[in-house]
């Protein structure tokens, strides 16, 4: 287990080094050490797929029973499932750390908060994935949240602090729900918190106790759902992602949002028995998430806020596929169920790569121009060609265009949902529609920043290599996972097997995955035709360059639609969606006002001791009655 110790040492070293000084050189050192450790995380992930995955058990304190017994030993183990997510973590954190070396120059202030929080955030994400004990899991989970909160608040502006506070409150409340579910789990397993112990005992018990199953499932879903930002628990996310530095947003969206997905796989595949309604419920949540997340993303005019809303939308796809897989497996459809689960994992890694890439490009643009305003930006493709090209790859990937990775996972999601004669096909139809909204939204993202003429001339140059190389790495992964889906699918089928799902042999072609027979390579045809087309145009390329045609007037046409009115006609027609969101916002704030009024009332009444005593006694009586009724 030396690699793990070494990686943990590097992260802690980075944090300690960063503590000494808030200077720029120190931040660079912290980022470089983190990048080095991230390579180690990748290595750990690769080791997890070998026959002899690394594992370590640390004895923290001797013996004991109860809570000390449960926490007494810390087992860290790489399973194929966690190895898959470790790979996501490794690749993304390497890119983000390397990117941070130059990017953090933007901030002229004491960097100690970043220097300490950043490596520890990475370390606790890794430990959350590695631990094999539910109690340790919640501890690492909370620490991960804590350090990510510091990173969100890093800019210390009023908005950033507010966003971090909102983020903290919501995830904290969610984690409490999860804690209740974990306590219930430990009670029902007679004091085991180990994953393997739970998976041996719990499913066979719960299969006859649906009430407990739903209680654990709902507690877990709320806790994990807040972190994964499923609608309606998502409202912290756009603020938090927008305010964090871009390389941190990359990690928040690319990795931290995937950890609840990992835990959902563990909980719903290993801990809980397969349940039809649970699967359907999760799929419904996923559909709502992808629908509302993406529809709201369409309206955004801040580059990072737009990406943040899309993070909600894309996680909806992952959760829809997970729910569909659970539902299909519980109905006995092994083939489609396995394809759906594989699609879920595939989309998770795809989302990590393309969304990570897009956040980096948004950061690069902000780094050079100092602006995230899509209404203002424009025409950057000429001065920042590499960033523009990688952003185009990212935008086309998330839109699911054929030779890129988004297409493969979306294809698998549709293939497993659309043709089933159940309500799942409706969910699939919504996913298909939302895919077109995603396309539109990224046409907007790309064209507003890079292609259309700017409002005023923006004089910038390309970002330094430490910033564009991470973008190029992620763009390459996007392309490679689209053209060669066999590689991720091999890992996914191993990961799923370790979670107890047997995956049928999937045939892969460039860009296409096929469960049974197929006879062509569609991509090959596309490439041949495209090559002919471009060759034809290149051979006959003329050097004639003329100014843009302005319908005959002498002056240039200064017509330029602002980003806010890109798809105005569409948004106006689909106003219902947005008014629903507004209505929900109003409802929540009126509940909040009501609660405040109640609290004031309580404060006033609390001076009257005997009234309070009576009220408490009545409350106690009610609780005893409920508990008594529950035990009957």
């Amino acid at each position: 287990m030396t690699p793990l110790a070494f990686i943990a040492f590097l992260f802690i070293l980075a944090a300690v080094v960063g503590l000494f000084s808030g200077g720029k050189a120190m931040t660079k050192a912290v980022n470089l050490i983190s990048a080095l450790a991230s390579i180690g995380v990748c290595y750990l992930g690769i080791l997890g797929f070998t026959n002899n995955p690394p594992s370590v058990t640390l004895s923290l304190f001797e013996g004991g029973s109860g809570i000390t017994g449960l926490l007494g030993s810390l087992t860290l183990k790489v399973t194929p499932l966690s190895a898959f997510f470790l790979l996501i973590l490794g690749v993304l954190s390497f890119s983000a750390s390397l990117y941070g070396v130059s990017y953090m120059d933007m901030y002229r202030r004491d960097m100690r908060l970043y220097n300490v929080s950043y490596p520890l955030f990475l370390l606790f994400m890794m430990l959350t994935l590695l631990t094999q004990n539910l109690l340790w899991f919640i501890i690492f989970w909370e620490l991960m949240t804590l350090f990510s909160q510091f990173l969100v608040a890093f800019e210390r502006s009023e908005r950033a602090v507010k966003a971090a506070f909102k983020y903290f409150c919501m995830t904290k409340a969610g984690a409490d729900f999860m804690l209740l579910a974990i306590v219930l789990t430990i009670i029902k397993t007679a004091g085991t918190a180990d994953y393997s112990g739970i998976s041996q005992v719990l499913p066979s018990y719960l299969i006859h106790h649906p009430a407990e199953t739903y209680a654990i499932a709902i507690g877990m879903l709320v806790g994990l759902g807040v972190k994964a930002a499923v609608v309606p628990l998502h409202s912290w996310l756009p603020d938090a992602y927008m305010e964090a530095p871009s390389n941190v947003s990359t990690l928040l969206s690319g990795v931290m949002e995937k950890i609840p997905v990992y835990m959902m796989f563990v909980v719903f595949l290993r801990f809980l028995p397969l349940d039809k309604y649970l699967g359907l419920g999760i799929a419904l949540i996923g559909t709502l998430t992808l629908f509302f997340g993406t529809m709201y993303a369409l309206k955004q005019t801040d580059s990072k806020r737009l990406l943040a809303y899309h993070s909600i939308g894309q996680i909806g796809y992952v959760i829809l596929a997970l729910g569909a897989g659970l539902y299909l497996l519980s109905r006995g459809d092994a083939l489609l169920g396995a394809v759906a689960l594989a699609a879920s994992l595939y989309h998770a890694i795809n989302h990590a790569t393309f969304k990570g890439l897009l956040f980096l490009t948004a950061g690069s643009v902000a780094y050079r121009t100092g602006s995230r305003d899509l209404n203002y930006l424009g025409g950057l493709a000429k001065s920042m060609p590499i960033t523009a090209f990688t952003a185009l790859i990212g935008a086309l990937s998330i839109a699911g265009m054929p030779p890129l990775n988004g297409f493969v996972s979306k294809w698998m999601i549709y293939a497993s949902t659309l043709p089933t004669p159940t309500v799942l096909s409706l969910f699939g139809a919504f996913a298909l529609f939302i895919s077109s909204v995603t396309t539109a939204s990224f046409v907007k993202y790309f064209t507003t920043m890079f292609t259309r003429p700017p409002l005023e001339r923006i004089e910038v140059k390309e970002v330094p290599p430490t910033m564009w190389v991470p973008q190029a790495i992620l763009a390459f992964v996007c392309l490679a996972f689209g053209i060669y889906p066999k590689l991720p699918l091999g890992l996914i089928s191993k990961a799923l097997k370790s979670a107890g799902v047997s995956v049928p042999a999937l045939k892969t072609f460039p860009g296409i995955v096929i469960p049974n027979t197929g006879n062509i390579e569609p991509l090959a045809i596309f490439v041949v035709l495209l090559a002919f087309g471009t060759a034809f145009l290149a051979l006959t390329h003329s050097k004639v360059v003329l100014p843009v045609w302005t319908t005959g007037t002498r002056k240039p046409l200064s017509m330029r639609l602002p980003a806010s009115s890109y798809y105005a006609s569409f948004e106006e027609e689909f106003e219902e969606v947005y008014s629903l969101g507004e209505w929900a916002g109003k409802a929540i704030s009126s509940i909040w006002r009501g609660t405040k009024r109640l609290a004031v009332l309580y404060e006033v009444r609390s001076y009257q001791a005997d009234l309070m005593m009576t009220a408490s006694a009545v409350a106690l009586l009610i609780m005893v009655l409920i508990l008594g009724g529950a035990s009957l």
Binding site: M401, K410, L432, F433, R452, I514, P522
Partner: protein, 293 residues
């Protein structure tokens, strides 16, 4: 031989699509009591365009602007490999509907990105409209695809050809015909190109060979949509099938151009509203399919 058959299909499509456009121009002219150009006029136009060099606008993002037309045409022609056309050969695989749909999307995206990168304000307006309409269209199309695939309980295009005699399948096919009309950028829905108002929108800055490729991609896209619709009904031996196919193309072309000649253009908002309301029919069709009718 499957691949050879597919290549024949594609070649036929490339040759025949401009002729079909010529026919449509003739029909529209006759309906408006004009003489109209000869059938091969569209081909003459294309040949003329192919002979001319292309001009690059000075404010454009060159590489993106030049990549637009070949990607648009290549994706449409690749989609042709998935559907049987004049010969009953096609490349079939599980889930090819999705590959088909996304290739169509790719061609739309290529045209709009080309338009946006040309630097011309009219092209931008046209591209906004194109994408708005595309989203609304996809909203209906998603339901129709779901209805059709639930109805035949399969996910290959070849299992949809021909459709079983079920209410949901047949209604789905008719709804598809309407959507084919919409995405063929025909008159009430040609908001993105709208010649009199925004002078061909995304195409405005293209010229010469690039314009020829784009025009060809529009004609072949229309032909492709006709082909999918006809395949829902075509049966029989290859020879009979081919004859019916060509007759079907001509009939559809006449009907569509007659509708086109008698309409004015929608505003973008109205077109989107139409499609949004139309999606209710798609959802009902899906419900029918779910009930097994």
């Amino acid at each position: 031989m499957s691949l050879a058959g597919c290549i024949v299909n594609v070649i036929f499509a490339v040759i025949f699509a401009p002729l079909l456009d010529g026919l449509e121009r003739k029909v529209k002219a006759k309906l408006q009591t004009r003489q109209g150009p000869p059938l091969v006029q569209t081909w003459f136009d294309l040949i003329k365009l192919f002979k001319r060099p292309s001009v690059t606008p000075s404010e454009s993002i060159g590489w993106l602007f030049r990549l637009g037309p070949p990607i648009a045409l290549a994706s449409i022609l690749t989609a042709f490999f998935f559907v049987p056309a004049v010969l009953p050969d096609s490349m079939r695989f599980w889930g090819d509907i999705i590959a088909f749909l996304y290739l169509m999307t790719l061609s739309t995206v290529a045209v709009t990105l080309g338009g946006f990168s040309s630097g011309n304000p009219y092209a931008q307006i046209g591209s906004h409209r194109e994408v708005s309409l595309f989203m609304a269209e996809e909203f209906s199309l998603a339901f129709v695809i779901a209805a059709l695939s639930v109805s035949v309980k399969s996910f290959t295009l070849s299992s949809l050809f021909p459709l079983p005699l079920k209410a949901s399948a047949l209604i789905g096919a008719l709804l598809f015909a309407v959507l084919a009309y919409v995405s063929g950028a025909r008159v009430p829905f040609d908001v993105s190109e709208a010649e009199p108002e925004i002078v061909e929108g995304p195409l405005i800055e293209y010229s010469g060979r690039q314009l020829a490729l784009l025009k060809l991609s529009i004609y072949t896209k229309r032909l492709l949509l006709f082909t999918v619709f006809l395949n829902f009904f075509l049966r029989g031996s290859p020879a009979v099938r081919a004859i019916y196919y060509v007759i079907g193309l001509i009939v559809l072309s006449v009907i569509y151009s007659a509708i086109e000649a008698s309409c004015g253009r929608f505003r973008t908002k109205d077109a989107v509203r139409f499609l949004k309301r139309f999606s209710v029919l798609g959802a009902l069709c899906w419900l029918l399919a779910l009930m097994g009718w």
